[in-house]
Every structure is written in C-alpha cells, then in structure tokens.
Symmetry: C2
Subunit: 336 residues, 2 copies
Amino acid sequence: MSSETVRLSLAEAYEFARITLLNAGLGPDHATSIATLLTKTQGDDCHSHGLYRLLSCVRCLKLGKVDPNAVPVLHDKAAGIVTVDARFGFSPLAFDIGRPMLMEKARTQGIAAMAINNCFHFSALWPEMEALAAEGLAAIAMTPSHSWVAPSGGKTPVFGTNPFAFGWPRPGTLPLVFDFATSETARGEIELHRRAGKDIPSGWAIDADGKSTTDPSAALEGAMLPFGGHKGSALSMMIELMAGPLIGDALSSESMAFDNGAKVTPCHGELIIAFDPARFLGGRSEEHLLKADTLFDAVLGQGARLPSQRRYQARARSQTDGVLIPLELYNELKQL
Amino acid sequence: MSSETVRLSLAEAYEFARITLLNAGLGPDHATSIATLLTKTQGDDCHSHGLYRLLSCVRCLKLGKVDPNAVPVLHDKAAGIVTVDARFGFSPLAFDIGRPMLMEKARTQGIAAMAINNCFHFSALWPEMEALAAEGLAAIAMTPSHSWVAPSGGKTPVFGTNPFAFGWPRPGTLPLVFDFATSETARGEIELHRRAGKDIPSGWAIDADGKSTTDPSAALEGAMLPFGGHKGSALSMMIELMAGPLIGDALSSESMAFDNGAKVTPCHGELIIAFDPARFLGGRSEEHLLKADTLFDAVLGQGARLPSQRRYQARARSQTDGVLIPLELYNELKQL
C-alpha cells in the first residue's frame, strides 16, 4: 500500500464528504449530518471512524439497504423519554433531530433518555457524548451491533461489539469523553491482521471449536471475546438489553439476521441518557463540577492519560494543519 | 482455621444479625434493614457480603464513625431526581426510604435517578438492583469506595474499587442482576492471599514503584489495577464522577481522607438510575421483555452462565437447608 497522503483542510474534508454522499444519492440533510460527523472524527485522528467510513456509507446506499431520504420522526414519549424513529435511515440525522428535546427534558426533569430506533449505525458514539457534554450535561450512550462476540465462558457469538460511551462537562474547558467497544478489540483489527498475514494476540478471539486462537481467519469464523472477562461480558449483555428490548429494538443477533449476509452496517437502536448537574446540585453545580479536576489532576499528575486527551491534541493540530488522508483511499473515494 | 460450621435457618440468621446489631447500639430501623440485607446475601452464598459483614458494622459503630440512629432525609429534588441524605448512617435504610419515590418517579417519567448522600456503604449493590427489577424496573447503580486503584497507565491509587451493578426485570421469573467491582479483584482477596502467605496472580496489582507484583504485601502498599485495562479504568472514572461530583458527594480519595486511617467502610454517595420498560414500550412491554429470553437462551444454550444464576441456585438451597456459617465466625459474632 502506498504511503502517499493528501492533505485537506477541515472545510475541504467536510465538502469532500458531503459531495461524495450527495453524489451517491443521499438526501441533503443526511449528507450534512454525516459530513459534519466524519470531519470531526477525521480531525480527531479517529481514522477508522473518519472519511474511510464513506466507503461503507456509499456501499450501504448502493445496496439499497438504507433509505437515503428517511425523515426521522420525533416522539415525546414520556416526561423523561424522547424517541426518534430513524425510519431505516442513517443515525446521525436522527440524533441531531432528537438532541434538542433530550436536552430540554434533561434540564427540566434532571435526567432523561433518548431512544433512537431503526437506524443504520456506523459512527462512533463519542461525538454525541461530546455534543451533550459541551452543553453542560453528563451523558451515557450504548448500542448493540452484529453478534460477533461470545459471552464469557461460551464459544458461540451472541453479543455485538456493543460500544459504551460517556461524556462529562468541564466548566471552561473541553468535556471528558470516552467510547469503547465491549469486545477485546475491533472486528476491523482482526480483519487488518488477516490481510497483513499477521497473527492476532491471544485473548482477542476463539475459533469455531471455542479454543483460543491467534489465527485471524479462524477468529473471524469463530467468535470474538469480550474485554475484561466476565465483567466485560456482563456489560455487553446489559447493552444488548438496554439498547434492544428496553427500547423495542433489535438484539445484535436480530440485526445480523436483518443484514442477511449483505455485510452492511448494523440496523438497530441506540439508548442515550442525559443528566443535568444543575438539577442534581442546584447552585453548587459549578463548585462540584470543578472538584472533578482533583480527579483529572491525580490521573495526569502520574503520567497517565485522560480518555479524550489524544483526540483533543489531534483536533488542535487538525484545525491549523488540516487532515492527512491516504492517497489510495482518497482516490477510491473520488471514484465512488 | 477450623472447618466446623453452624447451620442457621434464614429466619435464625436474620434474628441473629438483628440482635447482634441492636446489642452493638444500632437503632432498630437500621438493624432491620441491615439484617434483612445480610440474610439475603448470606442466603445467596455471598459470604464476603453476608453475616461476616457484621464484624465491620459493629467495628464502625464502636469507633463512633457512623451515627447509629441517623434518620435519612428524603428530598423530592426534581421531577426525575430523588435524593436521600443518609446523615452519616449506614446506607441500607436510606435505600429503603428512598426506593418508593424512585419507583414512582421512574413510572411517571420513564426514567429517574436516586442519589444517596453521606452514607456508610458496606453492602453489595445487587440486592438494590434486584429489589427494583422485581418491581418491573431496569436499574443501574454505582458507587465509589476508597482510593486503592491506579488508573490504567499510572502507578498511584486514585479510583476506588467502584462497583457497577445492573438489574433487568424478567416477567414470570427472577430478575437478571449483576454487580462487579471495576478493580481486577477485591481488596479482601489480596488480603486473604497475604494472610495465607500465597502469591497473587500478576495483573491484580502493582507495587509502590508501579511495577507488576505477585507479592500481596507489596500490592497492598502499591496500587490495585482496574479490570480490563484502559476500558475498565475509564468505567471506574465514570463512577467516580457520576456517584461523586454529579451528586455533590465524595471522590474515593475524599472518602479515604475522611476515614483518616480508621479503616472503616467508605462514607460517600451512590447513584441509582431506574427505567420503566412500560413507559418506553407502552403495550408492547411484555412482548419485548420476553424477547430478552432469546439472548439468555443463547448464553445458556452454549454452557455459559447468566450473571445471577449461581446466586439463585444458592438461594433455593438456603430456603430449605438454611445457611452454613463457620463456627469460628459465629463465635466471634456472638461475642460482639
């Protein structure tokens, strides 16, 4: 693979993404939401969730799986619940449409939940967490995926890679945000090892007989493993339940069945919970939020990193220097 | 240590715990809440959270750290938030007093939060999760502890062992419940290895220089490690923030400072979130809750276990056979 790269300013990256999506037949509102998101992730050096994802978006559109003009429908479901039916469109526009009501409910009730249903999900969850935390709310999000991961002590895939994300508002500075898969690694990582002819570390996956394997092909035909043994497995099960049956949407196994071998991005639900510190704390809100700095300082002071630290460093760099895209990917995207 | 045991029926275990607490000067409402809790945990074979905990409860009382007659104060803080100020008493009574309002708010709003503040915490979180799930609500709980755990990539204790718990209602059968520490192991486990003169597995802890150690004494003077590397570490940080500053209560480091070397159980806050599936799903609630059985069947069908399975088996046994307490512990408790 060539190591040549193309440099794009963030504005150019955004326009490139937007035009690519419009040319692939995606409706303008969806194209705007997705281009905004991919520019943000690319600018934060999340290459696997950056412009690279245009490939799978366009593939999804060409296969006719996703509705390019789906208009998400907002429901004021209960005092503390908003739901957005994405109507088999991509998820980012659904989030954008639901966010104001979620925020309003969190600010009124102190806590509120948003369920996004029937959406095609390809994005990281952290941009959503950051968007809420930037407005002063703490937030948690979770979503299933496709059933690739065996439960701890098992050997057959049941759970998805089921990401869990969190955002925390910091007065006067960027929010603390994290977002991790509850699988030991990303499925794409195993695929990359297979393509490079390299072994995977043990602990990532098991083969079809349930035995530990370092062979990426055997791993892809077997099952991925949850992170952190039975604890990660329990967390992954919680995500299946909370962003599945609780919100009337698909388990990872159902989402995989719905995909029916097309290998497009999962279609399912997402659960987001927002908390307003001002409602929990009243006038002492800022004082307590600032106390969290004691915690962050104790982590940083010993040379450990905060979850969002690297991304924010990349962001500062991207704002002046733009982003670097592999030339091969850039050319491939141009031909879409 | 003698392997002799004493068999008590659940009713006898309850009365034994209650009388022990009353004799130690604990107020009757607290004694009832705690005796109920310890009988339940003992009956479920959670020995480390069973009658054994009477030792630390009584020690706490004798040291004058905990208020034996604290009357928890309930606040209707916002439409979606209830707070209970435990006023430096033990936590179980505070939970019992706050639970009805939490449930009512969850059923009205769809989602609600309960913050318990200024409570001495020695119990597992799962009985609280089961109590809510048994009433048809899904629930999440978290609490900090004492700062014993280093962040991933660090070497100095910052986080507590910070448990995370979850409950899920299952129509017609016992709820699914889990409860795990976000540290790789319990501090008591390291202590037990030290007393037995045994090495601990690598990955549990680091020494004071930040190096991996299998020496339990070096581990106790160094730092415990989070489970699951940077992901478990991130989850532990979330718990510090959500059950600390968000609810106006202590970080694990503050709780440790408050303890001031007395080595009693942590005094701090707890956050509980309750979700009403009926509000999320309307008339389709039971249909979707039953769909979760697909997931549970897929786990059980491959020989893996569900999180609460062993406890429920123990419970069924305890209901007919009672519980077995080591004679040495029983005699020690009788002399309190």
